[in-house]
């Protein structure tokens, strides 16, 4: 009898112990070189150094970034040098697919187990004029809640061009260290095909269409493609069209669209839909099913005249085919620029490192930012990544492709993507960035004019609902 009771008691305790063990968290111990990058998602995970299973000495500095082979490889490559410079710390890199980075940042900051997180541009903040119309973006919430360290007074900031860093600041304080700006409103082109067909870099929209027509008429090559299955690679170009035609004036257009002072069917914006329809006719058949990850390799195969992607994909193209000769040119506007310059790029701030205030190794995080801000290391980083323009002064790059972009960066503007808002609750036709994929020319249900009309209706409906909700 007693034995049975004892067994019952032991069994119950065992079950409780098993449940407790199941729900247990990570306990303390020696640092491991591998970090759980995705925090429960299916993201990839990697750690710096060749031997991920062997813990290095010191405390880890865990950098969370999105999958970009060149960036991740470079960060891994400097792990040993960083450890040598700062023996108390060693570097680990957690890599997740770019589409999941926002979610993973949130979970990792909540868990207080990341030292450096990666952001892009701090764009579209909730401000007084739009506070009833849009949600506060994640980056702004983090800063307002004191979760990102103010880097303004850190010594390494002096290495950078303050004007550029301040462009990505918040309330005149710097919360992220921008490693480079990126030109991304252009098109890659195959130099051999252009040369063979006697084509020139187009300076106006009509010239661009003429180039497309020439390649199409020749019939041997794909005119234009993109990784459209992911939507954003193609939607970038609706913004590129806006930026190419209105430059910095896009900020005003974005505000007026949100407040209702301007409509999608107004000629200024209708121009985007018209150009999109034309652009779409030259995209290869089945383009909406091509995954972004596959697209650079398809261009690298050498059978495609032009490829729509940001300049950051240059290393991926070269990796797929080191022998291909290609260039990158800005998408031109309808008219030549008034300042006489050739078409210019729209840019954005790309990889920016921020330090959570609850980072377990904040000292190590700042040590890493100091290390990578060293001019020599920073220059090597830009040469390795081969897609960013410098945010430090007096940087000379040995990357031919990057240097070739300079002509289009004499008077760049922040791309329209930074300024085109959608009101809360807006319907499907108004919530994208003038989404290409609704167009009939790409298998969607609408013409450009119908899409603009529906976007206006959805904006109007959302504004009315907001008004009724706020009253």
């Amino acid at each position: 009898m007693k034995l049975r009771k004892l067994l019952c008691l032991l069994l119950a305790l065992l079950m409780i112990a098993a449940l407790t063990a199941c729900s247990g968290g990570v306990t303390g111990g020696a640092p491991a070189a591998t970090q759980d990058g995705a925090a429960g998602t299916d993201g990839a995970d990697s750690s710096a150094g060749d031997d991920a299973s062997a813990p290095a000495e010191g405390t880890s500095v865990d950098v969370l970034t999105w999958s970009n082979a060149a960036t991740v490889e470079y960060l891994k490559s400097i792990a040993d040098a960083f450890h040598e410079a700062y023996p108390d710390h060693y570097l680990t890199v957690s890599e997740v697919p770019s589409a999941e980075i926002d979610q993973v940042i949130q979970t990792r900051i909540s868990a207080a187990n990341v030292d450096i997180v990666s952001f892009q541009t701090f764009s579209k903040p909730q401000e007084e004029w739009n506070q009833d119309s849009i949600d506060k973006p994640a980056w702004q919430q983090y800063i307002d809640e004191g979760l990102l360290l103010d880097l303004t007074d850190q010594p390494f900031i002096d290495n950078y061009n303050l004007d550029i860093l301040m462009g990505n600041s918040y309330k005149d304080r710097i919360y992220s260290l921008n490693m480079g700006t990126v030109a991304y409103t252009g098109l890659f082109y195959n130099k051999a095909i252009f040369s063979e067909l006697g084509l020139e870099i187009p300076k106006t929209w009509d010239e661009f269409i003429a180039v497309c027509e020439a390649v199409k008429a020749d019939g041997r090559y794909t005119v234009l493609s993109a990784g459209a299955a992911d939507q954003w690679p193609l939607n970038m170009y609706s913004n590129a069209i806006l930026s190419a035609n209105y430059g910095d004036g896009v900020e005003e257009i974005g505000q007026k669209l949100l407040t209702g002072e301007m409509k999608h069917t107004d000629p200024e914006v209708m121009l985007v839909y018209d150009c999109m329809e034309q652009f779409a006719t030259y995209l290869e058949p089945g383009v909406t099913g091509i995954a972004y990850s596959d697209a650079p390799g398809r261009f690298a195969a050498g059978n495609m005249a032009m490829y729509a992607d940001g300049s950051w994909s240059a290393p991926d193209i070269l990796r797929a085919n080191p022998d291909i000769e290609f260039g990158y040119f800005p998408l031109p506007g309808i008219e030549p620029r008034e300042d006489g310059l050739d078409p210019q790029y729209g840019i954005k701030y790309d990889l920016s490192f921020a330090v959570p205030t609850n980072a377990p190794n904040q000292e190590g995080a700042l040590a890493f930012l100091t290390y990578i801000s060293d001019k020599e290391v920073y220059t090597a980083f830009l040469n390795a990544v081969a897609g960013f323009s410098p945010t430090q002064n007096d940087i000379t790059l040995d990357n031919e492709f990057l240097n070739s972009l300079n002509e289009g960066l004499q008077s760049p503007c922040l791309n329209a993507e930074m300024y085109i808002y959608a009101p809360k609750g807006v319907g499907e036709y108004g919530n994208g960035q003038f989404s290409f994929l609704y167009l009939q020319t790409l298998g969607g249900p609408l013409t450009g004019a119908e899409l603009a009309q529906k976007a206006d209706e959805d904006f109007e409906t959302a504004r009315a609902a907001l008004e009724s909700l706020n009253n």
Partner: protein, 328 residues
């Protein structure tokens, strides 16, 4: 006496006998044994569910340490008023279509496969059962990768089949098509879970006495009559279980939609909206748009709407199934 009760115990097959067994133990031992289950249910089920209901009336953001306040019905007003009604209706419609298609097709296929694989003289039936069950143990990420490869453009087998065998000059990109992406996601969901339903049907089929079939065949019944008059009535409780599991699972499902289309191309359902609102990503609105996420109070309100929907559908379907079971 208690020892005798245990020694004399025959297999427990009735509530009365079970009750007798339980009475053989002191009450505190019974409760102690129940404690882990009660704790597990309370901590991991009851508490989070209750908190979800409470948080749906707040503006909690999910940003750690951020202040949050009681906002009453605002989240629900936003869900039903602010959201584009046309798109909300479409999303709710998609959720219903998703649940209905998955429930009907998945169970029909599972039953068909179970009947075929229950055949005693079928060669390799154990292997076939394992193959059909295999997708169940694969995670959503693996399943989505497989389906993305199958439908990839322009090198996937489906694209090449449409182009080369069916002779379609420009086949549609299935997973990024406003017409075909949603059916493709439904197909993936059915493919993944059919094996689970099949195993439940198989278990029920194997419990049917061979004598009944033998008697029926001696009486001259056809295969079709045997299925309708003997097999189906005797496995009807499994049909009920599978139907309810499929309805509840598909109404809550978001993993495959998240990993295959991210809720875009008109594939966002209510479950997907909840996830995207809380954690960001595509499909956070009924309109399939991408928002920053980080609105866990609002996501909790969406969860409650989903919960009420699932509850209503489950109660109705359970009542219907019970009536059908009684009619059998």
């Amino acid at each position: 006496m208690e020892g005798k009760a245990i020694r004399n115990a025959s297999p427990v097959n009735s509530p009365k006998r079970l009750h007798k067994h339980i009475r053989a133990f002191p009450v505190w031992v019974v409760f102690l044994c129940m404690l882990p289950g009660i704790l597990h249910y309370t901590i991991f089920r009851l508490f989070p569910s209750t908190m979800t209901a409470v948080l749906s009336f707040t503006d909690i953001s999910g940003v750690p340490g951020s202040a949050w306040q009681w906002i009453g019905w605002d989240n629900y007003r936003e869900f039903f008023i602010l959201q584009n009604i046309r798109d909300l209706k479409a999303s709710l419609g998609r959720t219903a279509i998703y649940a209905l298609s998955v429930t009907l097709i998945q169970n029909a296929l599972a039953l068909l496969m179970a009947v075929i694989l229950n055949g005693k003289f079928l060669k390799g039936r154990n292997f076939a059962r394992a193959v059909y069950f295999m997708p169940v143990i694969l995670g959503a990420a693996v399943v989505s990768t497989i389906w993305k490869l199958v439908f990839s453009t322009p090198t996937g087998p489906v694209y090449l089949f449409m182009q080369n065998v069916l002779g379609i000059e420009n086949p549609p990109a299935i997973l990024s098509s406003y017409s075909y992406a949603f059916p493709a996601v439904i197909a993936a969901q059915i493919w993944q879970n059919m094996g689970y339903s099949m195993v439940i049907f198989l278990a029920a089929l194997q419990n049917i006495s061979a004598d009944l079939y033998e008697a029926a065949y001696i009486d001259g019944a056809s295969e079709w009559q045997v299925f309708w008059k003997i097999t189906l009535p005797l496995i009807w409780s499994s049909v009920t279980v599978n139907t309810l599991l499929a309805i509840i699972g598909s109404l809550q499902s978001f993993e495959l939609i998240m990993t295959i289309t991210r809720g875009q191309f008109n594939t966002s359902t209510l479950g997907m909206m909840v996830f995207a609102t809380a954690f960001g990503g595509g499909g956070a609105t009924a309109s399939g748009g991408t928002v920053a996420g980080m609105r866990q109070g609002y996501a909790a309100a969406e969860s409650m709407v989903l919960f009420v929907g699932v509850l209503i559908v489950t109660i109705i379907s359970q009542a219907i199934m019970k009536k059908m079971e009684a009619d059998q």
